[in-house]
């Protein structure tokens, strides 16, 4: 209850016109930043950070975190309307969001995405509010073996629970892991697969690959099939919003499951990306009608969005409590905190109560205000669909190119993005799923480092992955998920009864 009192104090700090207007400005900027592919949350926050140097720390963090929420909301817009994930964690949202938009249900999809973002963040904020001290000590339990086990779990859940043919998932994942190996290897300090090229030195940036794989390849496919972006005038009315909201209770299991996954992966720096994929896959797995996923099912939007946002929000907790950023944006916010003379760490909660609780209160307020802003602007975004393809396509290509360039100010990345566009096109043609490829690209090198550090630490014994209850449980769960289809078949009868129990894990 002490937390509750402090939270109320936080609200009191925020309730000034100045802060509320900064909040709105931050949210609108954030939505724009989130809509542009490649620009995204981290870059947006980085560009706007110097603006805040003259503000007091509380105003500054409120504005920056609102940019962050805005970007989280905005990322969903392009994923649904154009099949271009504005942010990495929106990739899974495209699976069902884009088909929905094609069927003329863009408004429903957007409403679903925003609402579930809101729910996900809200759950995570409540978690931060009441569990901050406990959770920060939980995060400390994560050493290299635990990290590897989490990554393994993500990979295995993909293979075991994926809809696609297993061998294709594995091929796609293996190619992703191969590409993730390019660049400097942290553990040995040597360069790998750079072939003497300065451009390859820094490795293949994940966002560059994603923009190409999803955005450019989609344009190529659309051109080939002479499909216009056949959007119907998405009339979003209060009725649509209410209809989606009325349906919400039906999906409470999905929402709850995704929130839990998201919070967990956000706190243990598994990240929003892994969370969104895992949320989607589990929702599909445990659905009675998993065949309809990927064809425009609203649950397929709820699941990844809730998980991504729960995790994006929860990622702020280890940053504040421990000084370890759980995401790229959190890392930049961390830099900001230090400029304002606040050192994140266990003492921040004790020494700067005003600041911490002001920030937490701003998460509640920012989310509510954000939801209202995005819902009222949905008609504007949905009307983009009515613009002819011939006019929209070049704009998308240009904004993809800008996005790819802006990440590292490198011309080389634009060529790389176009190259990945062709790869994405070929993959779609021969039916190799793109998601495992992107997942491997994001988590590949982290998983590799964690595995090798665990091996150095244990002197080369694989037993380290079962050396304590936490890591043992995660590893066992991972292997169970990997062989889930087999297990499912063997115990098909029993399996059906066990499903509700497995969901809570």
């Amino acid at each position: 209850m002490e937390a509750f009192g402090l939270l109320m104090h936080g609200f009191a700090v925020l309730m000034t016109w100045k802060i509320i207007s900064l909040m709105v400005v931050g949210l609108v900027l954030g939505i724009f930043v989130g809509v542009l592919p490649g620009l995204g949350g981290p870059n947006g926050v980085a560009i706007l950070l110097p603006l805040t140097f003259t503000m007091d720390p509380t105003s500054a963090i409120v504005m920056l975190s609102c940019i962050y929420w805005g970007a989280l909301f905005g990322g969903a817009i392009t994923s649904i309307l154009f099949n271009i994930p504005g942010e990495a964690w929106s990739v899974a949202t495209t699976f069902d969001g884009y088909p929905m938009a094609q069927q003329g249900k863009a408004a429903e999809a957007l409403t679903a995405a925003f609402t579930s973002s809101f729910i996900g963040s809200l759950v995570a904020v409540m978690l931060i509010t009441f569990l901050a001290p406990i959770i920060s000590s939980f995060a400390l339990k994560f050493g290299p073996p635990e990290f590897f086990a989490v990554y393994l779990l993500t990979f295995c859940s993909f293979v075991g629970l994926g809809r696609e043919a297993k061998h294709k998932t594995v091929i796609s994942m293996a190619l992703g892991l191969l590409i993730a190996g390019i660049g400097m290897d942290t553990v040995s300090g040597n360069l790998r697969m750079t072939f003497g090229s300065d451009n390859l030195l820094r490795g293949i940036n994940f966002l560059v690959a994603v923009i190409g794989l999803f955005g450019i390849s989609e344009i190529l496919l659309t051109m080939e099939e002479r499909l216009a972006l056949r959007g119907h005038a998405a009339k979003i009315s209060l009725r649509t919003v209410l209809k989606v909201w009325m349906d919400l209770p039906k999906y409470w299991v999905t929402l709850l499951r995704s929130s839990v996954i998201g919070c967990w992966l956000g706190i243990t720096p598994g990240g929003a990306i892994a969370a969104s994929f895992m949320g989607y896959n589990l929702a599909k797995r445990f659905s009675k009608d998993s065949e309809s996923f990927g064809k425009g099912r609203i649950e397929g939007v709820f699941a990844p969005e809730t998980a991504a946002h729960a995790s994006g929000t929860a990622a702020l907790l280890p940053m504040l409590a421990l000084g370890i950023p759980g995401s790229g944006t959190a890392a930049i916010l961390l830099g900001g905190l230090m400029v304002w003379g606040l050192n994140p760490g266990p003492l921040l909660f004790v020494e700067h109560k005003d600041f911490v609780w002001g920030l937490i209160a701003s998460m509640y307020l920012g989310n509510v205000v954000g939801l209202v802003i995005v819902l009222t602007t949905v008609p504007i975004f949905a009307s983009i669909l009515r613009v002819p393809f011939a006019a929209v396509a070049p704009m998308i290509v240009v904004s993809c190119a800008i996005g790819a360039y802006a990440i590292q100010n490198a011309m080389f990345d634009i060529w790389l993005m176009l190259g990945f566009g062709v790869v994405g096109y070929v993959f779609k043609k021969i039916g190799i799923p793109l998601a495992p490829f992107t997942l491997a690209l994001v988590l590949g090198s982290r998983a590799e480092d964690a595995f090798r550090l665990a091996m150095i630490g244990s002197g080369g014994s694989v037993g380290v992955f079962w050396s304590n209850g936490l890591v043992g449980t995660i590893t066992t769960l991972a292997i169970t998920l990997l062989f889930w289809p087999v297990i499912d078949k063997v115990f098909s009868g029993v399996g059906r009864m066990l499903k509700p129990a497995a969901q809570t894990s």
């Binding site: 300090g189 300065d198 900001g336 400029v339 590292q408």
Partner: protein
Amino acid sequence: MSKSIRATAALAAVLASAPILSSAKAWEPTKPVEIVVAAGAGGASDQMARMMQAAIQKNSLMKAPVVVSLKGGASGAEALIYMKSSEGDANKVLIAYSLIYMLPLSAKIPFNWRDLTPVSVVAMDQFVLWDNASGAKTVKEFIAAAKAASSPFKMGGTGSKREDHVLTVFMEKQTGAKFSYLPYKSGGEAATQLVGNHTEANVNNPSENLEVWRAGQVRALCVFDKERISYKTKVTETQSWNDIPTCKEEGLDVQYLMLRAMFLPGKVTPEQQAFYVDLFEKVTKTPEYKDYMEKQALKPIFLKGPEMLKFLEEDDALNKSLMTEAGFVAK
């Protein structure tokens, strides 16, 4: 003390502003100036760059805006290559540390700091031997524990074949104990892994372990310098930076200091170089810089011109011999 500093700073500011008025033709950047950081977000270099950005903007030391750009890819090699390929562009300034000597040796990165234009050395960074608060209380006990350990005795650090790794190797050579070195991506990660008891110790810079030290989660065993850190203000409940003994006092004769220096790309004009020498000299006189030095326990220093070159050559030779002796030079 602080009064005299402030007075000096004010005086310096007055003196500094005078020549700008008189020599209006001196070169000055017109485009935003990029401070290039060869490390990830939140690390020591990034924090320092942001301090400089704030110091320059708050004290209006320059008309053009300052942006910080993070080029931490490939353990910082990205920044080095970026600087090398920006020949003649006086709007980019690198905030360098010992990687300028070490990376070309260990990973054969085609880079030589002599291709860049040195501006000034702005600080020296310390290294401290830390262990978990529940671990050994003195260096002697620590070494004894390392020798007695049956499973690998884990030492965390940033990157492979770099300063932290070199220090670990020299500790092994000095004491005969054996460590398993775990290379993490950043000093922050090394710090939390130590707190979580996943490693036994690390050799982080003071800034990287500051917060966990204040929270009483780690213990500072000794500092790898000839003399103690000068700051005597209490940082934790009971200790100031000055209370940490030197490693030599504790019988572990290993020393290492790391430079923090500014470089421009190659082939810039002498006027451009002079502008930045002057700019960073002013930065070192701002209250922001002084606060930062004390808070992060850095050694203030300012070297420019021939003095800096002499220092760089000596420091390069020293780092090269350490790297060779540690066996980290790629063939």
